[in-house]
Structures are given as structure tokens and as C-alpha cells.
């Protein structure tokens, strides 16, 4: 706790020094964070501000929450989790609940922007599946409650490609020249080639990264493009035959194009989790906690998963889902890694990515 406070003061001090130098003003630090553990959070506020991806929620649950708790909810959306992290790090306040990915959690935590959750209000927490507890980015589950989860793998058109693409090496295969895409994300692309060679996708080893760079540049010759979510349309149309893609998106696209399948490559990949967190400067922490608890109810969690098409970390919700995304088996878990923030190695990764893109 003292650690977090000192980091927050540190950032506030640095930015404040900048601001002070330019404006002659003083430092500003936010309100004191709520204490950890089973802390009291005060009476229920009348408002709640959520900052999340668009369509990453079942639309009916917001009015349901509003009716039951008498809280007015404002739902704002962002396009990129990294921009969201940068916005919070630059000092934007007012959000009570934010939904960062795993490495975003690390960055926010390290810059002292998160408040520890108060378990007093999270009575439904037991509904979470054990596989999503105690993960690398939040080993003691003090700051996060998982919202949705998924895996990064390979989606392909079974009618256009006969062989199952079991390995990341398929991107190096010149047979499919011009029909392949990878995600436009340095963690996903470099990570895939690190896993191909048996390394961790959080590696900071220059030699491993150099090898991954060479592989990525070789693959680039075969790629049609680096495409993220918009690749779905192209898979459906058949312009793209095989794409690096998340399982939830592949499932969505498959509803429109039945010849679409998805698999987890044998060398392993990313287990990604988007979590609910409460910023340290949240103006309505009690309402935030009530919402988290609300979303942990089985029926609510089921509605969310049905609407988003991704995996629900709520095991009590599974029986209510018609087509639940099954939790990773122990076999799959052994091959999955969580993306952590790279810390000092970020610069090396960024340069590697620039080299790949410039090739």
C-alpha cells in the first residue's frame, strides 16, 4: 500500500513538476484511495461512470442495474485500451469502472492509479471459476475482477484450406501467399513467433526477439495485411483464408460463415482477460463495487457472455448459456500465457516492431 502511494505521488510529482514549471502552479494529488481488504466505502452514490469497449456488455443490464439500485449509469467507450491507459496516466478522472487488459492492469498499478477492491461488497465473487483466480497480473486478486476472457489463435476457412493449421509456422508457408493476415498488434505478432521457437511471449531477451523479428519479416512476405477486428468481414467474404484472430471474434463470424473454424496452435498462445478495475480517483467507489457484484450474478453474467460472444469467467453462469465457450483444459492451459507489461523491455519490443513494419 505504501508502495502504491509513493508511486502515485511520484507520477503526480513528475507531471506536476512539468505543469508547475510551465504554469507556476502547485502539485495536485487525488483524493485518498479507499483502504484495502474489507473496507467500508460509505453510502451508495447516485451515479456511476463506466469506461469500456463498445458493445462489450449486454445492453439490458444497465437499465436493470439502474432500476434495482437507483443509480444513474453513464457508459463511455474507448477504441484502444492503450489510449485509455495513457488517458488515465495523463490524469483524466471521473471514471469509476474501467476495463483494461492484463498488461494494462500492470501499467495502471505501477503508476498508482488503481484502488484495491473491498471484498465486503463482492459477495458473488465465489461464482468465478478457479482458473481465473490468482493470475500473474494480479496474484492476490486485490485489484481486478475478470469481465470476459478469450484466447488468440488461428481462424481459417475450412472450405479453402484443407489442412488444419496447427502451428504458427503456417504464416511462414508460401503456399498461402497473399491470403494470410496477422493481428496489427506487436504483442500478438512478436508473441506468436516467440512461442513458435519455444520462448515466452513476455520475453525480454534480445536474442529471442531478434529471432522472432526474422521470422516475422519472413512471414510478412506472405501476409496480405496486418488486420485486427475488421478481418472478420474479409474472412466471411473469402478474401482472407487464414487469420490470427481471437476465439470470440471467430465464433461471431462463424455465425455468418459456417465454413469458419478456430484453433489454438500447438506451440501455445495468449490467454487474454479483460478485467473490471476501480481507479484510485473514482468518485463513486461504492456504486462501482455494487455494479461489479451485480455483474457477478449468474444470470447477469450469462446475459453479458451471450451478448458479447466471448468467454465468461463466471462458472455459475455456464449452465445458462446455450453455446458456452469452454474453459481452457489443463492441456490448453499449459500452452497459454498471460501478457504482462514489459517494463524496461518495452523499448526493445517497440523498436523490433518498427523494424518488422519497415521491412
Amino acid at each position: 500500500m505504501a508502495h502504491d502511494a509513493s508511486r502515485r505521488e511520484f507520477l503526480a510529482g513528475a507531471l506536476g513538476a512539468l505543469g508547475a514549471a510551465a504554469l507556476g502552479g502547485g502539485c495536485r494529488s487525488g483524493p485518498a484511495p479507499p483502504p484495502a481488504g474489507r473496507a467500508e466505502l460509505g453510502p451508495l452514490e447516485r451515479e456511476l461512470n463506466i469506461y469500456n469497449w463498445s458493445d462489450y456488455i449486454a445492453p439490458e443490464i444497465l437499465p436493470a442495474f439502474e432500476r434495482e439500485f437507483g443509480v444513474r449509469v453513464t457508459y463511455d467507450t474507448f477504441e484502444s485500451s492503450e489510449e485509455m491507459v495513457a488517458k488515465l496516466q495523463a490524469g483524466a478522472r471521473g471514471y469509476d469502472l474501467v476495463v483494461p487488459p492484463t498488461y494494462g492492469v500492470t501499467a495502471l498499478l505501477a503508476t498508482g492509479l488503481l484502488a484495491p477492491l473491498s471484498t465486503r461488497y463482492l459477495t458473488n465473487r465465489g461464482n468465478l471459476a478457479p482458473v481465473f483466480r490468482g493470475l500473474a497480473h494480479d496474484p492476490e486478486d486485490r485489484y481486478t475482477v475478470p469481465w470476459q476472457w478469450g484466447m488468440t489463435g488461428i481462424a481459417w476457412r475450412t472450405d479453402l484450406i484443407a489442412a488444419r493449421p496447427e502451428s504458427w509456422a503456417v504464416f511462414l508457408d508460401p503456399r498461402y501467399h497473399g491470403k494470410l493476415t496477422m493481428l496489427d498488434d506487436q504483442r500478438d505478432v512478436i508473441g506468436a513467433f516467440l512461442r513458435l521457437r519455444g520462448h515466452s511471449l513476455n520475453s525480454s531477451d534480445p536474442a529471442e526477439l531478434e529471432q522472432a523479428r526474422r521470422d516475422a519479416v519472413e512471414a510478412k512476405q506472405n501476409l496480405k495485411a496486418y488486420l485486427s477486428a475488421p478481418v472478420k468481414a474479409q474472412l466471411i467474404a473469402g478474401d482472407v483464408w487464414l487469420a490470427q484472430l481471437w476465439n470470440g471474434d471467430a465464433a461471431q463470424a462463424a455465425r455468418e460463415q459456417p465454413a469458419l473454424a478456430w484453433l489454438l496452435p500447438k506451440e501455445g498462445s495468449t490467454l487474454w482477460i479483460d478485467s473490471l478495475v476501480v481507479p484510485a480517483a473514482a468518485p463513486h467507489p461504492r456504486a462501482a463495487h455494487e455494479f461489479i457484484n451485480f455483474s457477478l450474478r449468474p444470470d447477469i453474467a450469462a446475459k453479458i457472455a451471450t451478448a458479447t460472444g466471448y468467454g465468461s469467467p463466471n462458472r455459475a453462469a455456464l449452465p445458462m448459456l446455450t453455446n458456452p465457450v469452454p474453459y481452457p483444459s489443463s492441456n490448453e492451459l499449459a500452452r497459454l500465457e498471460i501478457e504482462m507489461d514489459l517494463g524496461r523491455a518495452t523499448e526493445l519490443w517497440d523498436e523490433t516492431w518498427t523494424r518488422i513494419k519497415s521491412a
Binding site: G19, L23, S80, E83, D184, Y226, T354, K357, S358
Partner: protein
Amino acid sequence: MKRLRTTALLAPGTLWLGLFFVLPMLLMLGASVLHRGVYGGVAPGFTLEHYRRLLDPLYLAVLGRTLLWALLATATCLLLGYPVAWTIACSRRYRTLLLMLIVLPFWTSFLVRTFAMIFLLRDTGLINTLLLRLGVIHEPLTLLYTPFAVLLGLVYGFLPFMVLPVYASLEKLDPALLEASATLGARPAAQFFTVTLPLSLPGVIAGSLLVFVSALGSFVTSDLLGGAKQVMIGNLVQGQFTTARNWPFGSAISFVLMLLVLVAVLASLRLRSPEPGR
């Protein structure tokens, strides 16, 4: 006698720019000489490493590539935009209509427009399907994720930046001048180069600068229509504030970019006709 003081003309704009542009930029200038905060933001300590890092051939190549694209986009916008501006300025009846029609597509979201262009250019998209049906080609043309597609997108997005200033400049052209030169025996081509073009030069320079400078910072078009296979300066800066968590480096790049633009702008402004004194 009410004078219109120069300060009254200058005050609102310069104050606003000073407060809400220059001041924030000074903050970022400060950031560019600090250390990178490991998880974001800045850390104390003066350093010029970020500026030094820019001298690496990798980053110079990115800058060079962006400059080339910006020049290409500007030249194409000029070639296509000047005739459009000319036609609008010529037409008395349809002038407002034509002007508004140039701007109308931009009332739709950039993303949706760009996805519509993707639908046009895709292998199984509109153009290829039509050409295949008509028997003009037998294999789909690769139109998307090519330099052609990127140029198309850039020109599409920046055309108004060229048309509007050139139009504004051409519109005041006195037809009497053209009639006079015709009387003196000049043919249309000569008229254009000796009368029209020089008089519309301020608009041409303004439009070219607007397109060039905007294209320098652009990267989303290159990503969406070029398949994100190349890095522009815009990608680099965007990355520094997001995934790379290197705000000082991002700020340094921006400052170098601004310096380059300042030099380019001041140089081109000398090309303009001398200042109109009394």
C-alpha cells in the same frame, strides 16, 4: 473615428493559440528531455537520448518515407483539385452546390467511408466483381493493401484541403483580365500560365501546404488501406504514447516534425507574391 486596431485583430486568435497550443506544446517539450517512466508518463532526469535516438537510420527512413508519401499526396491533390476548384469558380449558377458537394462526403464517419472503399477495392469487392462479370479480367486485381489504395485514400481525404483554398483564391479572378489577354492574342493555355495560375498562386501554395502538412501526420489511411504494412511518422508517435509507453520519445519526434514543417512553411511563403503594402 473608430480604428480597427491591429491588436484587436490579433488578440483573440493568438491568445487562444498561445494558451491552448503553445502552452501544452511547451509541456511536451519539457517531457521530451526527461526520462521515460517505465510504465508510462515521465521520470525525472534531463536527457537528450530521445533526440539522439531519432538519428538512427531506422527512424530516419520512417521520416523519409512519410515525406515521400506527403509529397505524392500533395502533387496528386493539386493535379485533381485545381481543375475542380476552377470549375466551381467558373460556374455562377452551381457554385454553392458544387462546393457543398465536395464537402458532403465528410459528414459521414471517416471509418465507415474507408470501409466502403475497402468494399470497392477488395478482391471480392465491387470493382473486381464488375470487371470479372464483364469479362474484362479473368483474375481479381489486387487493388487493396497496395500503394495505389493508400494514395487513393489520402487524396480522397485531403482533396477539400486543396480545393477550398484554391477556389477561394480563384474566385476573385477578374474575367476582364482574361478577356484582355485574349484580345492581345493569348490562347487558353498561355492565358492559364500567364494570368490565371500566377493570380491563384496564393491559393495553390496554401492548399499544397495544408495537404502536405496534414499528410505528414497521417497514418490511419495507410493502416486501413495499406494493410498496416509500413510505418509512418504518425504510427511511430501514436505508438510511443500507447504500446511503447515512451512519452518523451513521442514528444521528441513531434518536435522535430514541427521544426521541419516550420522550415518548409517559411520557405514556401517566400514563393508568394510580395506582401501587399499600401
